[in-house]
Amino acid sequence: MKSVPLVAVIQFPGSNCEYETKRGILNSGMDSCIYRWNQCRELRDSQPDAYVLPGGFSFQDRVRAGAVAAKERIMDLVFSEAAGGKPVLGICNGAQILVESGMVPGWERGRIESALAANHISGRSGYLSRWVFLHVAAKAQQICPWLGKTGNGIIPLPIAHAEGRFVFSEENRERASSSAALKYCDEKGIESSDYPVNPNGSFLNLAGIMNDRGNVLAMMPHPERAFWMWQLPPWIPGEWGDRRDQSLRSGSHADTKGPGSLFFMSLADHFRGER
């Protein structure tokens, strides 16, 4: 591993969250570089320590969101690195790519066991932007390098997607449950399958899933949009709302990290532990 871990951000045609994702990584004390979809050699040669697939609309969401990007040559490299245990994070469209490539839940190599389907909300279709609340599955916190520092609290993050509903076949209910990493809940931590607590009808209220080993995480909410406390809406309730008020009062609002930073800081911590 490098003395300062290098986290590669993969830019596909149509990605649009690559720059703020890179900033989040840099602000967590790691190094980061954006690689274009056709820079396979450059990516391999730079030997990154971890990979992030950022949000956006890769390849125009042709066929299904993430489906075309999952077949790009650069994903072969990400796939084999993940198999070797390197941490991989897919955010929003990145999560869709990980699902379409079979890397999560990844029960059998190369098999696609899940899908991210169109949001299912009675009487409403299309894109949905809103802030949601999440809690982290206990097992995930132990084995996933992106979640080690997330704690037991309720995490507010924004979602922004039209296709974010995790779907599994009913017979895989139990297995899917063991792949759960992040689940939607209300501001007090209580799960519900009803809108808006579960904002898209996701199976088991899943907001993020991981592979068995825990090194690959696919999440629909955007941590990079809540990296700083100032990115939180003024109305956010609960612990993070209190912390936001406090950072405002203490004059440290510009530099106080928000709930989204936990994911990137977890990875930095994971690398410190390895070293």
Binding site: P13, G14, N16, C17, G56, P234, A254
Partner: protein
């Protein structure tokens, strides 16, 4: 056939908008019967949309100069200084356009291309685009044409999210209003903003270096098709029926996103190499306009070969290839010797031909020392005209005739505050806009501090690491417009300024879009003049930086907004104001914070309820006496609000507009934390409709009693209106209105009417 007859015939059979006199002028310029391409090129150049031929003489009234202005109106976007950070000066780039007619005919595509076009105007100045706003005016969703108005609203919102979200530009709100005057002609105004390093501003003309060395014209983007052929002309005539769909372009945000990344790469490459270049987006008039303008504004000629233009439809006539308004294209003027490397970035590095069939970059023309615009196609010369005529333009002095609206006030004004408040909160104009915003991505790029609805203006922190925040708001009230066109202009500026000021930001620039009916009608042209005069008057008063006016740095005029029956839309000047706050962490939102804090009323209430939400919603009368514009007072109030923010004593601030003080108070309560609900109790009985409902400009500020007591020499326009409570209600000593019982209704009202079609009362 005489030349005149030939021209008449050409105008008829090509559906040109130009007059016979204009066509004869063109024939005089070229000394023969103009070619079809020349006719279409000049038809676009001399269209109202491009030439401002009716409006130009009036627009001179607007203040456009201030020491912060880097580029005023004239280029694709306006530029003002913004902030210095890390050794670089950063400038704000802004543009404002309308896409009204296309959105009425094809709402999804029309609204999408509206964003597509306006962001190109900002991109082509070399900027990264970091925000867009949509100022939307729809017909009455519950009126006679309700079904159509609702469908158009849904379509426009869909077009905005499908395009804007994919492009990765945060949506910074804007406003949505409904008025039966828009039943046959919706308004879709779009504002776009971005930031550019001062030393890397790009201009839309071929540089002077092209006189010394050979420059070529690279066309990049989507392959040319026949979409949008005649688009500018379409925007410059009455909307006859909905058969004109061919004039609407088709947008592609995916291609645009890749193209934007590639463009930034190319511009950086050229700057790093110290190469001078010109860059311009393709909008109205397509290839013909971009090539001729790049050349003409650089005092050069150009020879364009249409055989080299990648097309997606075979055998298109010359004038269609040259003038179609296919989206997602730019023109780039670079030295010939570097062109191969530029093409490589687009075509190899960013693989544009692989990502979109036929897309990519191609050299299609060479700049020439002889000042002629020449176009070749299939071995023939299809245009040849001196470049000076292309940009010369034409001006008309239109007749105008005052047509003021008589002032008629209602006979009685019953006042039942809880009931009135409830009606207003549940009216289509007073209901929460969150159902609209829920479709928009307001947070992509990770720079958003206040999203739509959280504060009076959206606030972004656009330059990573720099504390300077940008606040932006767009406003314009059709109810004032139909009663007093001058005050519509003045208050459009005033309200946008107040919204920006309420967040703690100082206005630094404004843009306008002037939406009116047929300028050839004297009463309409009077409304237009009045609107411009109103904007000018307000801008002269409301510059808060030193003694300079607030400069209008970009804008657009949209005439012919009327139905086939001839009724013009309400006079609709729409203004966007941009403000800067040096430390964004000091900016204020509207949510009530602390029980016991005082609510300070800034600005006495006056008996001027004409056009108010109360009149319309609670007594079914539009009234006549609209709020006066008191520039000096507005300025002093704004200075006071900014001083409070700077001193850190304002805990929440909300401007008073639609629904008056009571609605402002309710909105502040509704914005409070769900686990710490707040309300307001007024100090007096509060049974006077003037105090409660007047839309006289003003603000409510929440501050502690200590802060209030510490203010020395309190200006006369201040008074204590009430205090914050921990009960989720608005109350006085005589009445109370619990907000929890209407919260869900207020929040979902538009969703239920517009999207779920729950329209039975």
């Amino acid at each position: 056939m005489s030349l005149s007859d030939e021209l008449k015939e050409a105008i008829r059979h090509r559906s040109l908008a130009m007059t016979l006199e204009e066509a004869e002028k063109l024939a005089g310029y070229v000394g023969r019967m103009p070619t079809p391409l020349e006719l279409h090129l000049f038809d676009t150049m001399w269209s109202e949309h491009c030439s401002y031929k009716s409006s130009r003489s009036v627009l001179k009234l607007l203040p456009t100069h201030a020491s912060s202005v880097v580029v005023g109106p004239g280029e694709d976007a306006g530029i003002v200084k913004f902030a210095d950070h890390d050794g670089f000066s950063w400038d704000l780039v802004v543009a404002h356009e309308s896409h009204n007619h296309p959105s009425q005919v094809l709402p999804v595509e029309g609204a999408a291309t509206g964003i597509g076009g306006i962001v190109r105007d900002v991109y082509c100045m070399g900027a990264r685009v970091t925000g867009s706003l949509d100022l939307l005016r729809f017909g009455d969703p519950l009126g006679n044409s309700g079904e159509k108005s609702r469908a158009i609203c849904r379509g426009v919102v869909e077009g905005i999210w499908k395009y804007g979200n994919a492009l990765g530009v945060p949506n910074l709100g804007g406003d949505t209003r409904f008025h039966e005057g828009y039943d046959d002609n919706c308004l879709v105004n779009v504002v776009s903003l971005g930031f550019v390093r001062h030393d890397r501003i790009v201009h839309s003309f071929v540089p002077a270096e092209a006189h010394e060395e050979q420059y070529v014209l690279i066309l990049v983007g989507k392959p040319t098709d026949d979409t949008g052929f005649g688009g500018a002309t379409f925007a410059s005539a009455d909307l006859k029926d909905e058969s004109e769909k061919g004039a609407v372009q088709v947008a592609d945000p995916f291609l645009k996103r890749v193209l934007s990344e590639a463009n930034l790469n190319v511009l950086d490459f050229l700057f790093d190499r110290g190469i001078k270049f010109g860059f311009k987006d393709l909008g109205a008039g397509g290839i013909a306009c971009v090539t001729s303008e790049l050349a003409a504004h650089g005092n050069l000629g150009i020879e364009v070969n249409l055989d080299l233009v990648p097309v997606s439809i075979p055998d298109l006539p010359s004038e269609v290839i040259a003038c179609a308004e296919t989206q997602e294209r730019y023109g780039l003027a670079v030295p010939e010797w570097i062109s191969a490397e530029v093409l490589e970035i687009y075509n190899e590095k960013y693989e544009m031909p692989r990502l979109f069939p036929g897309a990519g970059a191609t050299v299609i023309g060479t700049f020439t020392g002889e000042p002629f615009y020449r176009v070749l196609h299939r071995g023939k010369e299809v245009a040849n005209t001196p470049v000076e005529y292309i940009t010369e333009g034409i001006v008309y002095d239109r007749n105008w005739e005052p047509s003021p609206v008589p002032v008629i006030e209602p006979d009685s004004r019953p006042c039942h505050p809880p009931l009135d408040l409830k009606r207003m909160l549940l009216s289509v104009d007073g209901a929460s806009r969150s159902p609209v915003w829920s479709y928009y991505d307001s947070e992509v790029q990770g720079i958003t501090h206040f999203r739509p609805g959280e504060a009076d203006a959206c606030v972004i922190v656009p330059i990573p690491g720099c504390r300077a925040g940008l606040a932006v708001s767009g406003d314009g009230n059709p109810w004032i417009g139909e009663l007093d066109p001058f005050l519509a202009g003045a208050h459009a500026v005033g309200e946008a300024v107040r919204n920006v000021v309420a967040t703690g930001a100082t206005p630094i620039a404004a843009t306008d879009c002037l939406n009116y009916g047929n300028p050839e009608k004297a009463d309409v042209f009077w409304q237009f003049r009045q609107g411009v005069e109103g904007i000018a008057a307000a801008c002269m008063e409301l510059g808060l930086e030193g003694e300079e006016p607030l400069p209008i740095v970009s804008g657009n005029v949209s005439f012919y907004n009327q139905s086939s029956k001839g009724g013009a839309v309400p006079p609709s000047p729409i203004v966007a104001v941009f403000g800067r706050i040096d430390d964004f962490t000091k900016s204020t939102d509207i949510s009530l914070k602390e029980p016991g804090n005082l609510i300070i009323l800034v600005g006495d209430r006056k008996d001027e309820l004409g056009g108010s939400l109360y009149y319309r919603t609670c007594i079914g009368h539009r009234g006549g006496r609209v709020p006066a514009f008191r520039g000096k007072l507005e300025r002093e109030m704004a200075r006071f609000v900014l001083a409070c923010c700077e001193a850190g004593i304002s805990r929440s601030v909300h401007d008073i507009s639609d629904g008056g003080m009571i609605l402002a108070a309710a909105e502040m309560a509704i914005a409070s934390r769900p686990d710490a609900r707040r309300g307001i109790v007024f100090d007096t009985e509060m049974l006077d409709p003037v105090i409660l409902y007047s839309e006289t400009p003003g603000y409510l500020i929440e501050m502690s009693r200590e802060s209030w007591d510490a203010i020395e020499n309190k200006p006369e326009f201040l008074s204590v209106a009430g205090r914050v409570t921990d009960e989720f209600r608005i109350a006085s000593s005589r009445w109370k209105m619990d907000l929890l019982e209407i919260l869900e209704d207020h929040t979902s009202r538009l969703d239920r009417i517009i999207w779920r079609e729950e329209v039975t009362e």
